[in-house]
């Protein structure tokens, strides 16, 4: 199934030694080891980056864009992820970081604060109060979670808040504003997100809920970090930051939920814990909760796979920065303007998010049932250790792969070894 769905997460075969570390952590069982190398099942991968984090050989990597892409545009805007402020020692100010990013060669640096604040404000003052919402509302800001819901929790698609993510909101506002102010065709303006997140990279190329992203490229924090460091130092003509306390806390797990000023919420981080909570939601057990903030990465976006700094340290630094700035202030007129932007579809997810049934055994139910019988039969003969040596993450996945015809050379090492042992006796 190659529908030009391009992932950010990739395997560097030369580095892969065929160990089973990544098999086990993949939340959608999207990895198999075949012929000594890991393979990613494209349809199942949600680009969460769990495999990148765990791989001891750095064989799992992410494709992001590079700075050369700026040449394609007449005017280039950088939107640094809010996590970036936590990547430098605390004595380096937000203004210094922003200025340094601009010096790399961008015409302008726009803070993601704009989108984060609008998102918080709209959810708080409008969407939580709007009629016809499916509770608990689930944040739309974590792209890995949206893809997880598509695959594993399709029932919960209606609970996803239909608001664009902060970076998309920021990009839309910045691009439109620059086009007007500078008189440049919107096509000639490039917007680059400096990202901690692999799933975001994928969502820029293959957006969900919108037809096209206003972000043109995504540059990994890891890749651009050196350039930023080299451009620090000169403290003349610093950009004046517009950060608000809420937006600086946004990338920390729970930051989004607490900014809403409500008590009845859950903030869940780490994809495996998110799965546990979404299972409860699916059973209808959490309908009395207003809002669930889910983030695939432990610690929130600061724990993203493409950051430099340990998430605990980054969190400490963000909190220090947050203390130095004011809380966000908006008027009734601002709210009306944001609501209009939302209702007009400018910052709303206007396209339906479709369920993806990649877990099913067969399109035809009778055949599916038959295959399930075979899986159950094969499972009875397997040791149930889920060791992964066969290259499938669990004994069950091993059986499924055989039944689906995806693993013709399937061998269970444990069974083979036991076979030898019994012969020797």
């Amino acid at each position: 199934m190659s529908n030009e769905y391009s992932h950010s997460v990739i395997l560097r075969e030369d580095r892969c030694i065929g160990c089973t570390s990544c098999l086990k952590v993949c939340p959608t069982e999207a990895i198999r080891v075949r012929d000594g190398k890991a393979k990613i099942i494209s349809d199942r991968c949600i680009d969460c980056g769990e495999c990148i984090r765990i791989c001891p050989n750095h064989a799992k990597s992410a494709i992001t864009d590079d700075l050369n892409m700026m040449k394609k545009f007449k005017y280039n805007i950088a939107i640094p992820s809010l996590t970036i402020y936590g990547q430098f020692p605390s004595n380096i100010s937000i203004s210094q970081i922003l200025t340094s990013i601009k010096r790399i060669g961008f015409d302008e640096v726009v803070e993601d604060t704009i989108g984060a604040d609008i998102s918080i404000f709209l959810i708080k003052e409008y969407l939580l109060k709007k009629s016809g919402m499916e509770f608990p509302l689930i944040n739309s800001s974590c792209p890995a979670i949206i893809r997880l819901i598509q695959i594993r929790f399709p029932d919960l698609i209606p609970n996803i808040i239909t608001i664009e993510t902060p970076v998309e909101i920021t990009a839309r506002i910045a691009k439109t504003e620059v086009a007007k102010r500078k008189g440049i065709d919107i096509k000639d303006i490039g917007v680059f997100f400096i990202t901690p997140c692999t799933a975001r990279v994928t969502s820029i190329r293959n957006p969900l809920g919108i037809t096209e992203s206003y972000v043109n490229g995504a540059i990994s924090i890891k890749d651009i970090y050196g350039e930023i460091v080299r451009n620090l130092g000169d403290n003349n003509n610093l950009i004046k930051g517009i950060s608000t306390r809420e937006s600086i806390l946004w990338p920390i797990a729970g930051g989004q939920a607490s900014a809403l000023g409500i008590e009845n919420y859950l903030a869940v981080d780490g994809i495996h814990d998110v799965i546990k909570v979404l299972e409860e939601v699916e059973l209808g057990k959490l309908e009395d909760i207003d809002f669930i903030e889910c983030s695939a990465c432990t610690g929130g976006c600061v724990g993203g796979p493409l950051v430099i700094q340990n998430s605990f340290i980054a969190k400490n630094r963000l909190m220090k920065h947050a203390k130095k700035v004011d809380i966000s202030k908006y008027t009734k007129e601002d709210l009306d303007r944001f609501i209009k932007m939302y209702e007009d579809g400018f910052i709303r997810l206007t396209e339906k998010i479709e369920p993806k049934s990649v877990m099913r055994l067969d399109k035809d139910l009778s055949k599916s049932i038959h295959k399930m019988e075979l899986v159950t039969e094969i499972l009875k003969n397997l040791p149930g250790l889920d060791c992964g040596i066969c290259g499938s993450p669990t004994c069950r996945a091993f059986a499924e792969d055989i039944v689906k015809g995806e693993n013709k050379k399937a061998v269970c090492m444990i069974k083979t070894m036991n076979g030898f042992k019994s012969k020797n006796l």
């Binding site: 049934s357 877990m359 099913r360 055994l361 139910l365 599916s368 049932i369 038959h370 399930m372 159950t376």
Partner: protein, 143 residues
């Protein structure tokens, strides 16, 4: 016509594993490619039945049989049985002791919820012997 069945033993007071059987059932249905709305109904029915076995019974089994037309969930236990089935079917009626209610269970919605999510619902109970519940969900109905 091909069908497939699974049985999950449920132990009394085993709150640690409570919910596992319904979770497994849900996964199976998803793999079979069932519609979300039917999966949700089955999951809720199975979960309520499972919790009932954990809270009220002396232990039992949850069974599921799936064929291309319907799904049948059976919950069977070995006692103590329900004295007044009619009363137990009433929303809000519960015999759960305080320690269970304190945990957020025993709201008296178990049996009514099971009935609500099934196309046909049967309950048979003999005091001193046990209870058997059969829930049937049709697959072709409107989904």
């Amino acid at each position: 016509m091909g069908n497939i069945s699974y049985n999950f033993p449920i132990e009394k007071d085993d709150f640690e594993r409570a919910g596992e059987a319904s979770s497994k059932i849900k996964k199976i249905l998803r793999q079979l490619g069932m519609d979300s709305s039917i999966i949700r109904r089955v999951a809720i029915g199975a979960y309520e039945a499972e919790m009932n076995l954990v809270i009220h019974s002396l232990g039992g089994t949850i069974g599921i049989t799936i064929d291309p037309e319907s799904i049948i969930i059976t919950a069977e236990d070995t006692g103590p049985g329900i004295e007044n089935v009619q009363l137990a079917m009433k929303e809000g009626y519960s015999t759960a002791p305080d320690r269970i209610r304190e945990m957020g269970f025993g709201a008296g919605m178990g049996l009514p919820n099971m009935k609500k999510c099934s196309d046909s619902f049967d309950i048979e109970s003999i005091v001193g012997k046990g209870t058997k519940i059969v829930m049937k969900m049709m697959l072709k109905d409107g989904d």
